[in-house]
């Protein structure tokens, strides 16, 4: 079917296009959304590389748990194996626990082995995120 491009149909097309672009022209910065998403996966990927290393996780209730990093997920929930509490006399609550799952929202610090951190790489990656990806 032949479509004849008359001047009338062309102007209709241009009106439709401007309507769509108005909807999309809301004041949102796609780079902001992308930036946040990328920095979340930055640490997710970073922890995935640290699986198998011995870390100490300090929680927001002051409990510190030492163990081997077994896995991490997108919420930065941490699964540790071979766990023991750092100050066992003060916190005997977890004496009989050897593997645990720690919810990401309660982690205050993750203390890493000093040789497990490539500081320059991490610096560069986070600097790039801060700049906007």
């Amino acid at each position: 079917m032949k479509i004849k491009l008359t001047s009338a149909s062309y102007s209709v097309r241009s009106i439709k296009f401007s309507f769509c672009s108005n909807l999309l022209a809301k004041p949102r910065k796609p780079s902001l959304f992308l930036g946040r998403g990328i920095e979340i996966i930055l640490f997710f990927s970073y922890f995935k590389d640290l699986v198998g290393r011995e870390v100490t996780v300090e929680l927001k209730n002051d409990l510190a748990i030492r163990g081997t990093l077994h896995s991490v997920d997108q919420y930065l929930n941490i699964k540790l194996e071979n766990t023991r509490v750092v100050d066992q006399d003060k916190y005997p609550h977890m004496l009989s626990v050897r593997n645990c799952f720690i919810r990401g929202s309660v982690v205050r610090y993750v203390q890493l082995p000093p040789d497990g951190v490539d500081i320059e790489l991490l610096h560069d990656a986070t600097r790039r995120e801060a700049r906007g990806g």
């Binding site: 979340i40 996966i41 209730n61 748990i65 929930n77 609550h93 009989s96 799952f101 720690i102």
Partner: protein, 114 residues
């Protein structure tokens, strides 16, 4: 091009599989849950979901104090909401039975402060 690539990366990792917590291996096992207000609850996981809400059967709470030994309060079948859970620990039966609870003195755990 870079933008498109990072877009795909974010979507593929972040959105594609919103897998819940890897608690499948702990179902039907005795576990210890530390809640945000510092309570210790022991029970058998019957189910969980992506928000870490947990169904706990045969649950009892262990109350630690510095004055008397450990108290056990029987609770029964519980659903514990995920945003209130801080640690889910797999309880080792042998180590658990080796504990002498009546002589254990400890400060109760601190609540979580965000």
């Amino acid at each position: 091009m870079d933008l498109i690539f990072s877009c795909v990366l974010v979507i593929s990792i972040f959105f594609k599989r919103a897998t819940g917590p890897g608690l499948e291996s702990l179902v039907d096992q005795t576990i210890l849950i530390i809640t945000n207000d510092g309570r210790n609850i022991v029970g058998v996981i019957k189910g969980f979901d992506q928000a870490t809400n947990i169904i706990l059967d045969e649950s009892h709470e262990r109350v630690y104090s510095t004055k008397e030994g450990v108290q056990q309060l029987v609770l029964g079948l519980y659903i514990i909401r995920g945003d209130n859970i801080s640690v889910v620990g797999e309880l080792d039966e042998e180590l658990y039975s080796a504990l002498d609870l009546s002589n254990l003195r400890a400060h109760p755990l601190m609540p979580v402060i965000h």
